[in-house]
């Protein structure tokens, strides 16, 4: 990257632990690292190493115990819950392992959901949703419900939902974990396009080395600590 702007994600001395039945489980200890704007990184590590926890912190759906967490210039660790909700709506796109679509909403309505939090008019929303669905190749599935779509198609709807608000970062937790190889390839190619063509910063958790190859760089988490390996 030629530009010397501030990294889009800046993590310093981040610590997170969970309390379970009176016992404190330390998940992340003193993690510090940066992610530059436009980067596509894969977060790897054994199960239970804290990958999802780290991703959730960056995405602003969990709070660290200590340390600072700057995303897109905002220290999100200090935001109030309501402000954090608005911040997420504007800055983060989520992609989940099990797609997490609303079963009673059509593909169109699922993609439209985050736009209900914006000031866009009905017509503007429709225009955007149709464009997003055509970008993920689902023009002919607009009125379908999740149960009428394959896993790969559902994940494409989820991807459309993730970028519909034009967020600065996309977080994906095992986005191919529930898919067959061909569908997984589809999804990975789509993420790469979002990264390359739309400049989205992508943080993807995966334990699949093959999937990780789609990213620019891979970070390994091991027992709550990070070691950096560049591809």
């Amino acid at each position: 990257m030629e530009d010397f702007t501030e990294p889009i994600v800046q993590i310093r001395q981040l610590t997170k632990s969970y309390r379970r039945g009176g016992q404190i489980i330390s998940v992340l200890t003193n993690i510090s690292f940066d992610i530059n704007s436009g980067e596509f990184i894969a977060l790897m590590g054994p199960s239970g190493s804290g990958k999802s926890t780290l991703l959730n912190l960056i995405a602003g759906i969990d709070k660290p115990d200590s340390g600072s967490l700057k995303v897109n210039g905002r220290d999100i660790a200090t935001l109030s819950e309501a402000d954090l909700a608005d911040w997420r709506a504007a800055n983060v796109g989520f992609i989940f392992q099990f797609y997490n679509l609303m079963p009673v909403l059509t593909a169109f309505e699922n993609v439209e959901l985050p736009l209900l939090l914006t000031r866009l008019s009905r017509d503007q929303r429709q225009e955007r949703v149709e464009l997003a669905l055509s970008m993920v190749g689902l023009t002919d599935r607009v009125e379908h419900y999740p149960s009428e779509l394959s896993g790969g198609q559902q994940q494409r709807v989820a991807i459309a939902r993730a970028f519909i608000t034009d967020p600065v970062i996309l977080v994906a937790d095992e986005p191919t974990g529930d898919l067959d190889r061909a569908s997984a390839d589809d999804i990975l190619a789509m993420l790469q396009r979002l990264n390359r063509e739309m400049g989205k910063t992508i943080i993807m958790v995966t334990h699949d080395p093959y999937a990780a190859k789609s990213a620019h760089s891979i970070r390994h988490l091991e027992k709550g600590e990070l070691d950096v390996t560049n591809q």
Binding site: N56, I61, D62, A85, N100, M102, L105, L116, L117
Partner: protein, 390 residues
């Protein structure tokens, strides 16, 4: 910023769980049905008795008699009352007053052969003129001085011998029904009317039960009341007819109301618990959805209102169904003993806007109360935890 989860999304979640929604809303519908039916019954009774009285009619009975059945007004007293200056004149120059007598007789019901008390009213010549709501719909008025009688519509339908052309035997005489009166669903529909003098002779009664009179000016009521009630020769009580009949319905109306409200409250507790269980299950089943919505930027209060609305919709659905069922009750007439007059009284379930509003409000309250805790739980969920709950 104004944000809300679309109603169609909430509605579709209810539709998606067909059976539970049906059962839960069905439970509420049942409660609303009971609730509305009781109000309709009370309203029907109120309407029947209150409208029996005309606003500018005055009824005079013996002091603290309460009902006409228990009242005694002797001939001298009746004559004094009839000639008070506040009493209106009819077109033929006579006073618009009717000295009446009340007799209870036992008649057999056409439906069950069981006997029940029916009120027979001996009326004067002006008796019908004083009750503009009473209309002869079949046959004719009885002739004065004869053993002819006319029967109220509901009596004619329900008792042997009370139909037009039929005869009844009481007081060791035969009485012929020559007319049917429609009193517009008021209490007179449950009475039989005959000539007051004939009836007094037959039953060997030397006294009247009451005097009904029309005021020449409604404002003159208190003057008349004061004069009669303070006259040492008279031991009488003066009431507006409408007030008199409203008081008669009080005991029965209260009984219906208390019984109905007790039933409604007990049933509604069941329905609320049902709604609560349904909504808790809905929250538990949709934890991931809730977590996802929150991750997308929806706030806790959006989730709270969505689930609360879902419960309210459930209540509203139950309310509408319950009211539709209750509205069919309007086709039924119920007859019961009015303990204050010791006679049978027929009245119907009456639905009005106030009852519709109350019933729907009751349904929404049930939904809201049942949905509040589950909605609060949904809103209180931690995002990460709910996303993990796969």
């Amino acid at each position: 910023m104004y944000i809300s989860i679309p109603l169609s999304y909430i509605w579709r979640n209810l539709i998606a769980r067909k059976l539970t929604t049906l059962l839960t809303a069905g439970g509420m519908a049942l409660v609303v049905f009971v609730f509305a039916t009781v109000l309709m019954l009370e309203e029907g009774l109120r309407k029947t008795l209150v409208e029996t009285g005309s606003p500018d009619n005055v009824i005079i009975t013996r002091r603290s008699a309460g009902t006409e059945v228990q009242s005694v007004v002797d001939r001298d007293q009746a004559a004094i009352v009839e000639n008070q200056p506040e009493v209106a004149y009819s077109t033929n120059g006579l006073r618009l007053a009717s000295k009446e007598t009340i007799v209870l007789i036992s008649l057999a019901k056409r439906s069950s052969d069981k006997a029940s008390n029916v009120l027979i009213r001996g009326v004067g010549q002006k008796g019908i003129e004083l009750r503009p709501q009473v209309e002869i719909v079949e046959g004719r008025m009885f002739r004065p001085g004869s053993t002819e009688i006319i029967a109220g519509k509901s009596v004619a339908e329900r008792y042997y011998g009370a139909g037009i052309g039929e005869t009844l035997r009481f007081g060791q005489r035969e009485w012929t029904v020559v007319g049917i009166m429609d009193a517009g669903k008021t209490g007179f529909d449950s009475e039989i009317w005959g000539d007051v003098d004939q009836l007094m002779q037959t039953f060997r009664r030397p006294v009247y039960s009451s005097v009904i009179l029309k005021l020449n000016d409604p404002a003159a009521f208190s003057a008349l009341k004061t004069r009669i009630e303070t006259d040492p020769r008279l031991t009488l009580e003066v009431k507006l007819e409408s007030v008199f009949y409203a008081e008669q319905s009080q005991l029965l109306a209260n009984f219906i109301r208390y019984l109905g409200m007790m039933l409604s409250i007990i049933f509604s507790i069941g329905a609320i618990i049902g709604a609560m269980i349904t909504m808790y299950a809905s929250v538990a089943n949709r934890a991931t959805e809730i977590g996802t919505m929150r991750a997308l930027g929806f706030r806790r209060n959006n989730i709270l209102s969505a689930f609360l609305l879902e419960a309210l919709m459930l209540g509203a659905a139950g309310g509408v169904v319950g009211l539709v069922l209750a509205s069919f009750m309007q086709f039924f007439t119920i007859s019961t003993m009015n303990w204050q007059s010791f006679s049978e009284l027929a009245f119907s379930f009456t639905l009005n806007i106030a009852i519709i509003t109350k019933s729907l409000a009751f349904a929404l309250i049930m939904g809201g109360v049942g949905g509040f805790l589950p909605a609060a739980r949904a809103a209180g969920l931690n995002i990460v935890d709910s996303l993990r709950a796969v």
